[in-house]
């Protein structure tokens, strides 16, 4: 069976779960990678190295900026002419939209954020977490092609072999964009929590160090943010040592300590790293639903009764301003860094 795999990228930077989707596609048969937009040629070569049997590239001027309408129309046209049984995507801001639209064009359905996928004859059964991960459902799609966006880190990443090659074919863009992109700013710290293997997160507790004296002339709110930045510096140092990403609770985001893109939880990102270290986070249900699938959870909190300890594998009751830097030091030594 032929599967399309949509390789999602931004100016050549590929969302890593695209490769996981490619690996999954290969387990069902042949995989045709689709790459749209600028720098598609470079991405196409990498797709072959990750195991694509063939790559279709569309990089017309109309696809220069991602617009859901043109990307969806281009995908729909390719699917209509080549009849794949399955289209796989990484779950990202862009793919949710383009898959949604393309499914309407093709009169089929999309299964989003899928963590398991099995072939069943010429059909597929997808496992996906619902109700914020409180339940798991198996779902089927009666339309063709079956469209599936996969959850990051749920499927193994295939090996990359520089020697692999294959055909790269140029295809035409379709459809008309209905919006224009006027500008872009990289977030102060672009983070991709969904793909991170290690996340160190800070909560409201990162601002709670009375012994720090903020520079003169700050009002109370500025002083709080200043303190929080000292706390997040410790969190960031630990994250960097471990090659991980920095996460945050909503209280930290709302407090203005760190941008929204770092937020883990119900209204932020759902993450599933191998290691999650929560510093000064109480463990409200809305935070827990975002991180409780981490393999190992470590909680550092002053309050022995904080609910975060119920979700954790290891807990430390203590002041994060002392424990976090000490942990960074201890790990530095043990890792020989």
């Amino acid at each position: 069976m032929k599967t399309f795999v949509y390789i999602d990228h931004f100016n050549g930077e590929v969302q890593p779960a695209s490769w996981e989707a490619l690996g999954l596609a290969k387990s069902f048969g042949s995989a045709v990678a689709l790459v749209f937009g600028p720098k598609a040629g470079d991405v196409a070569k990498t797709a072959l190295e990750f195991g694509a049997d063939e790559v279709l590239v569309a990089d017309d001027a109309s696809l220069k900026d991602y617009r859901a309408e043109t990307y969806a129309s281009t995908l729909s046209a390719l699917a209509s002419s080549q009849n794949p049984g399955l289209i796989l995507f990484p779950t990202t801001a862009r793919t949710r939209e383009m898959a949604a639209m393309s499914a309407m064009d093709l009169n089929t359905g999309v299964l989003t954020d899928v963590s398991g996928l099995e072939a069943n004859g010429d059909s597929f059964v997808a496992t996906r977490p619902i109700y914020e991960g409180k339940l798991l459902e198996k779902t089927v799609c009666s339309g063709r092609p079956v469209m599936v966006t996969i959850r990051g880190r749920a499927f193994p990443k295939p090996n990359r072999e520089a020697s692999k090659s294959g055909s790269i074919t140029k295809v035409e863009a379709k459809g008309e964009g209905k919006s224009s992109v006027e500008g872009y700013s990289a977030s102060e710290s672009a983070v991709n929590l969904g793909d991170a293997g290690i996340i160190v997160s800070g909560g409201r507790g990162v601002s709670n160090n009375p012994s720090l004296t903020p520079p003169a002339g700050m009002d109370e709110k500025q002083a709080e943010i200043w303190r929080a930045q000292q706390g997040f510096a410790l969190v960031t140092e630990l994250a960097q040592l471990l090659g991980g990403a920095v996460g945050a609770s909503r209280a930290a985001v709302d407090g203005g300590y760190i941008p929204y893109s770092h937020q883990v939880g119900q209204t932020g990102k759902v993450v599933s790293p191998d290691l999650y270290i929560a510093c000064g986070i109480s463990g409200a249900i809305q935070h827990l639903v975002g991180m409780r699938n981490a393999k190992v959870i470590v909680a550092i909190n002053k309050d022995a009764d904080a609910p975060i300890f119920k979700a954790a594998r290891y807990g430390v009751v203590g002041d994060l301003f002392q424990v976090v830097p000490a942990l960074t030091e201890a790990l530095k030594k043990k890792l020989g860094k």
């Binding site: 009666s142 209905k178 030091e329």
Partner: protein, 256 residues
């Protein structure tokens, strides 16, 4: 400007949701407005305040009980609410919901539709773009801020790689994220107004639509395997000693 905020009713996120006999059960936990859709209502109210003569309509496809969620939107400050309800609409997937919402939007008329990012229950995050596709209107997804200027709207779109400013002509479909601003609390006056409001219910024939057959169906529902995480508390006489022990435990987990 006429703005429609699309909202759904879901079990409260504090609810202990369980699978029982293949069905979802949330005990006697209350049903509430989908938290993401509170941001949609908030975004709509901000635009109403910014552009004089604007109105906000809250729109929901759901059972009769979903009127409570619409009342929450009214209490926050929406001008009117519409419930689309029909016995034939029990098993909607997102594509079906989009078709029904699009038909209701055509009937009501609107310049701007604002959606939440996704629902808490199904969590698909597909309905906004699917509705835009049916309407043939531009889709401005994941807006962290909205600015209307004459016949066009510009949003700051929050994506994995940062923020993009994207512009389109009205009418347009938007979805919003948390950066739009904390949803306002219902005022005392708002709650009183909402409790007295008569919410019109449109049936399928009112909107000239037929019940879409679901393309996505559930074949099994289970509780996730419970994880036996007995927490191990790490203690010691000094932060350094605790850190030393904890570092050893972390390394032994082989996750680094």
């Amino acid at each position: 400007m006429k703005i429609i905020a699309c909202i759904k009713q879901v079990p409260d996120s504090e609810a202990k949701v369980k699978a029982e006999g293949g069905q979802v059960s949330w005990g006697d936990a209350p049903l509430v407005i989908n938290p993401f859709d509170e941001y949609a209502v908030e975004g709509a109210l901000q635009q109403k305040e910014a552009i004089s003569g604007s109105t906000v309509t809250a729109l929901c496809v759901g059972p009769e009980s979903a009127k409570e969620a619409l009342k929450h939107a009214l209490a926050m400050g929406a001008d009117e609410a519409i419930l689309v309800s029909d016995a034939a609409l029990e098993n909607l997937d997102t594509a079906g919901a989009a078709r029904i919402l699009a038909a209701a939007i055509q009937k009501a008329g609107a310049d701007m539709i604002i959606f939440g990012r996704q629902t808490l229950d199904n969590g698909a995050g597909l309905t906004p773009a699917q509705t835009a596709r049916v309407l043939g209107w531009p889709m401005l997804g994941l807006a962290g801020s909205i600015k209307v200027n004459g016949g066009s709207v510009q949003v700051e779109r929050v994506i994995e790689e940062g923020r993009q400013s994207v512009k389109a002509n009205l009418p347009a479909v938007l979805s919003v994220v948390q950066s739009i601003g904390e949803p306002r609390y219902p005022s005392f006056m708002g709650i009183r107004k909402a409790s007295k409001a008569a919410i019109p219910v449109w049936s399928l024939s009112d909107i000239g639509a037929s019940a879409p057959a679901p393309i996505i169906t559930r074949s099994e529902l289970t509780n996730p395997p419970s994880r036996e995480t007995a927490v191990e508390m790490i203690t010691g006489d000094s932060p350094a000693e605790i850190a030393e022990k904890l570092a050893g435990k972390i390394l032994a987990e082989k996750v680094l």
